[in-house]
C-alpha cells in the first residue's frame, strides 16, 4: 500500500497522468495499462469515453470528441458534443474522473484527495474552473500547484540540493505546447518569476518535418503520397518512430515497402537513411524559437545580478539531443534530465500531495553520470594551438544510467590511416582541463576527407564505459572497455534514509506536543552525529520508540472498547 491515499494529477493539454507516493517516492499509476492518458473525451451515445480509446475514435467521431480543453478553461465557451452542451470544466471533470477511476482500479485505493497542476500563467478564472472540474469529478482538491513548481519539486528530490537560493529554469517541450518558466527557489520556497511559451509548438511539429522529408524523397520516384491517406498514415507513424530513434542514434535506415504508387501505378518503396544531423538542420529554427522564448523569460524575470543556475527538462520532446545542446550553448547552467520528462509534473504533484498529508517523503534514487564523457576532437580553434584540445561530449552529465549515446565525427584527411580515440571526463570545453580516462588506436579503411566515423559510448552502473568506434558502410569496428575513475555514476542524491530515520519520520506524523518536539530533537541529533555519538543517539532514538510502544500498549489496555 502507498504511504498515503493522496494523489497528484498532471491535467495536461495533450496528455494527463496521475501518481502517488509508494515508500515515500512518487510513482506514476498506469491507467488501462498506460501511465500517460490522452486528454481527449468522446461523448458517445449513452457513455463517455476518455483517453486512448477516445483518441483512437476521434477522426471517426469528430463531432462528439473534445480535445485540448485546457486551452478553454475559465472561458464562457460551450462545447457541443453530440446532443450535449458542456462547459470546459465539465469536460475536464471527465478526464479527472477517468484518471481517478483508473488509478483506483490499479492501486485498489479510493481516489479522493488530490493535488492538480495548472500552468503558472493560469489566471484566477482558469484556476477556479480547474477547482470546479475537480469538484464535479468528486475529488477533494487539496491544492492547485503550478506545473513548473511541481517539476522543480520532483527534481529537487532527485538531485543534490543546490544553494539555499538559486534561479531554476523549467524548460517544458511537450507534444503540442512549449512553456518556459523561471523560478526563484529560496530555502525550499519557490516563486515563479516569469513565464513564456508557444501554445502550438511541440513534438508533432518535428514529426511533420520528417514526414515532409519522406514526401520529398518519394517525389523523386514520381510518387505523391499526400494523395494517399493510407500512405500518409504510415509515414506519420514512421516519422515518430524515426524521431525517437534519432535521439540515441546518429542515423536511421528507413525502409517501408509498397508505401504508395507512382504516376504510372507502379509500387513505390521508401528506402532512405535519415541522419540526426539532417533532422537537426530542419528542426533547428523551431528549437531556436524556444531558446528565444527562454531568453525573453530570463529578461522578464529581472534577475538583477543573479543567473540561471539549473535547467530542468520536462516534456517528451526534450529527449531530442539538440534541445540540450542549444540550452548548453546559451546558458551557463547545470542541465538536469534525471526524471522521466513525460511524468515529471505528475510526480511532483504527488510529492506535494504527500507533504500536505504529512507523509514521509524520500529522495528519489536515480543513478546518473556525474560528469560528461566525451573524446578529443579537432575543431577550427585548435589550428591556433600547438596540439588539438577540443572536448566533444558524447554522453552528457546527469544522463540516467545505464545509457548508450552515439555521435558522428569526420576524418581530417584523404585516406586517413588511423584515429586516436582519447576519452575524457569533465565539463570543460578543453580536454586539458578535464580528466583523461584512456585511449586506443583505431585503424581506418581508406576513405576521402570528411568521411564519417561513429563513436558509441555505452556506460553501465559499474562505472565501465564501452567505447565502440566504427566506419559506416564498412565492417571496420572496434570496442574497448574503459573504467571510469569515480565509478561514474554519482549517485545523485545523497544518502537514502535508513529504517530508523524512516520510522522516526512516520512516527512524527502521528505525534503532537512535547513528544513530537522530543522526537524531532532526537532525530536531528541522530542525523548529525557520527561515530560513538551516533551510536548513543541511536540508542536514545530506540528508547524513545520503546517508550512509545509502552504508551500505546498502556492506552490499549485502558481502552474500555477492548473490554
Amino acid at each position: 500500500m502507498s504511504d498515503t491515499t493522496v494523489f497528484g494529477i498532471d491535467l495536461g493539454t495533450t496528455n494527463s497522468s496521475i501518481s502517488w507516493l509508494v515508500a515515500g517516492r512518487p510513482v506514476a499509476i498506469p491507467v488501462d495499462g498506460h501511465p500517460i492518458v490522452p486528454s481527449i473525451v468522446l461523448f458517445d451515445e449513452g457513455r463517455t469515453i476518455v483517453g486512448r480509446e477516445a483518441r483512437n475514435l476521434e477522426l471517426q467521431r469528430p463531432d462528439a470528441t473534445i480535445r485540448s480543453v485546457k486551452r478553454r478553461m475559465g472561458q464562457e465557451h460551450r462545447y457541443t458534443a453530440g446532443a450535449r452542451v458542456l462547459a470546459p470544466e465539465e469536460v475536464s471533470a471527465e478526464i479527472l474522473r477517468a484518471l481517478g477511476t483508473g488509478a483506483e482500479r490499479t492501486t485498489g485505493q479510493p481516489v479522493r484527495d488530490v493535488v492538480i497542476t495548472v500552468p503558472a500563467y493560469f489566471d484566477d478564472a482558469q484556476r477556479r474552473a480547474t477547482l470546479k472540474a475537480g469538484e464535479l469529478a468528486g475529488l477533494n482538491v487539496l491544492r492547485l500547484l503550478n506545473e513548473p513548481t511541481s517539476a522543480s519539486l520532483v527534481y529537487d528530490h532527485a538531485t543534490t540540493a543546490g544553494a539555499d537560493s538559486e534561479i531554476v529554469m523549467i524548460y517544458d517541450l511537450g507534444g503540442g505546447t512549449f512553456d518556459v518558466s523561471i523560478l526563484e527557489v529560496v530555502e525550499g520556497v519557490r516563486e515563479v518569476r516569469a513565464t513564456a511559451g508557444n501554445t502550438h509548438l511541440g513534438g508533432d511539429d518535428f514529426d511533420d518535418v520528417l514526414v515532409q522529408l519522406f514526401v520529398e524523397e518519394l517525389r523523386k520516384a514520381a510518387a505523391n503520397p499526400r494523395d494517399d491517406a493510407r500512405a500518409m498514415a504510415r509515414l506519420r507513424r514512421i516519422a515518430e518512430d524515426t524521431k525517437i530513434r534519432l535521439s540515441t542514434e546518429v542515423a536511421v535506415c528507413v525502409r517501408e515497402e509498397f508505401l504508395c504508387q507512382d504516376d504510372r501505378g507502379h509500387p513505390v518503396h521508401l528506402d532512405v537513411e535519415i541522419t540526426r544531423r539532417e533532422l537537426e538542420r530542419r528542426i533547428s529554427p523551431l528549437l531556436q524559437s524556444t531558446i528565444e522564448l527562454c531568453r525573453k523569460a530570463v529578461e522578464d524575470a529581472q534577475l538583477s545580478g543573479q543567473r540561471v543556475g539549473r535547467i530542468c527538462l520536462v516534456g517528451g520532446s526534450t529527449r531530442i539531443p539538440l534541445v540540450r545542446a542549444l540550452l548548453s550553448q546559451t546558458f551557463d547552467a547545470d542541465i538536469h534530465e534525471e526524471i522521466d520528462p513525460d511524468l515529471a509534473v505528475a510526480l511532483g504533484a504527488s510529492l506535494q500531495a504527500g507533504m500536505l498529508a504529512g507523509a514521509p517523503v524520500e529522495r528519489i534514487l536515480v543513478d546518473v553520470a556525474s560528469h560528461s564523457l566525451g573524446m578529443l576532437v579537432v575543431s577550427d580553434g585548435d589550428y591556433e594551438r600547438d596540439r588539438p584540445d577540443t572536448f566533444a561530449p558524447v554522453l552528457r552529465r546527469n544522463t540516467v544510467l545505464p545509457a548508450t549515446r552515439t555521435e558522428e565525427f569526420y576524418t581530417l584527411y584523404d585516406n586517413q590511416e588511423e584515429l586516436e580515440v582519447e576519452v575524457f571526463q569533465g565539463e570543460a570545453p578543453r580536454c586539458s582541463q578535464n580528466t583523461r580516462i584512456g585511449s586506443f588506436d583505431f585503424p581506418l579503411r581508406p576513405a576521402p576527407v570528411h568521411s564519417p566515423v561513429r563513436v558509441e559510448f555505452a556506460y553501465d552502473l559499474n562505472g565501465v564505459v564501452k567505447v565502440s568506434v566504427s566506419q559506416p558502410g564498412t565492417d571496420n569496428a572496434k570496442t574497448v572497455a574503459l573504467s571510469v575513475a569515480d565509478a561514474g555514476k554519482a549517485a545523485q542524491t545523497g544518502k537514502a534514509a535508513g529504517p530508523l530515520e524512516r520510522k522516526a519520520r512516520n512516527l512524527l506524523a502521528s505525534l503532537t506536543g512535547e513528544a513530537r518536539d522530543e522526537l524531532e530533537r532526537l532525530l536531528d541529533t541522530y542525523l548529525l552525529a557520527s561515530g560513538d555519538a551516533r551510536d548513543r543517539a541511536e540508542e536514545r532514538l530506540l528508547d524513545f520508540f520503546l517508550d512509545q510502544d509502552d504508551a500505546a500498549d498502556s492506552d490499549d489496555a485502558n481502552d474500555p472498547a477492548d473490554g
Binding site: V27, H34, T106, R230
Partner: protein, 184 residues
C-alpha cells in the same frame, strides 16, 4: 524502557558506601538493566527494520500490481516485442498483396496470401492473434482511426481500409491497429 530505568535509578553510588540498604536495588541490578536495555534496543531496531521491509514489500506489491496491468506475456507465450519485426513484415505483405491485386497479378497475390497464412499460423502458435480487418462498429480499444477516405459504397464513419493490423494476446491488446474510415 523508562520504567525500568526509574526502578533502578538510585542504584550504584549508594551501594558503594557500606552495608546494603534494603530499599536500594541489589548489585546485580545494573547488569540486569544493561542486559535488558541492550535486548530491548535490539528488539526495537529489529522491529524498525521489519516495519521498513514490510513497507518496501507493500511498495513492491503496488509496483507489481501496476506492472501486471501493463503488457506482460502469459506463461508459455512469446514476448510480443521480440516479434514486432515479423508483425511489421506481415503488414507490408498485406499491402503488397493489395497492390498486386489492384494491378491484376492475382496469382502472385494468392501466393503471397499463402505465405501470410503460414506466418499467421506461426504467430497463433505463439499466442498472438492478428486482426487484419476492422469490424463495424469500430472497436476503439483495438483500432485507431488515422485518416479518412471517400468510399461512396460505405456508410459515413465506417472502417474503409486497414493500414496496420491489430494484434492481441487473449483479451489483451498488444498493438493497436490503424484504420481509415469513410468520410462523405
Amino acid at each position: 524502557m523508562s520504567w525500568l530505568t526509574r526502578l533502578f535509578s538510585r542504584k550504584v553510588s549508594s551501594q558503594s558506601s557500606g552495608a546494603a540498604d534494603p530499599d536500594l536495588p541489589p548489585v546485580w541490578a545494573a547488569e540486569l538493566l544493561d542486559a535488558v536495555q541492550k535486548a530491548s534496543r535490539s528488539q526495537a531496531r529489529a522491529i524498525a527494520r521489519i516495519e521498513d521491509l514490510e513497507s518496501k514489500l507493500e511498495g513492491g506489491f503496488a509496483d507489481l500490481r501496476a506492472a501486471i496491468s501493463v503488457a506482460r506475456p502469459a506463461p508459455g507465450t512469446a514476448d510480443p516485442g521480440r516479434l514486432e519485426a515479423v508483425l511489421d513484415a506481415l503488414d507490408i505483405l498485406d499491402q503488397a498483396r493489395r497492390t498486386l491485386s489492384a494491378a491484376g497479378h492475382m496469382q502472385v497475390e494468392q501466393g503471397l496470401a499463402g505465405v501470410a497464412e503460414r506466418m499467421d499460423a506461426f504467430l497463433a502458435a505463439e499466442g498472438l492473434a492478428r486482426r487484419p480487418a476492422a469490424s463495424e462498429p469500430l472497436d476503439g480499444k483495438l483500432f485507431r482511426v488515422v485518416g479518412t477516405i471517400e468510399r461512396p459504397d460505405l456508410p459515413n464513419g465506417a472502417p474503409a481500409q486497414v493500414v496496420r493490423a491489430a494484434v492481441s494476446m487473449g483479451e489483451r491488446v498488444i498493438r493497436e491497429g490503424e484504420v481509415l474510415v469513410n468520410r462523405r
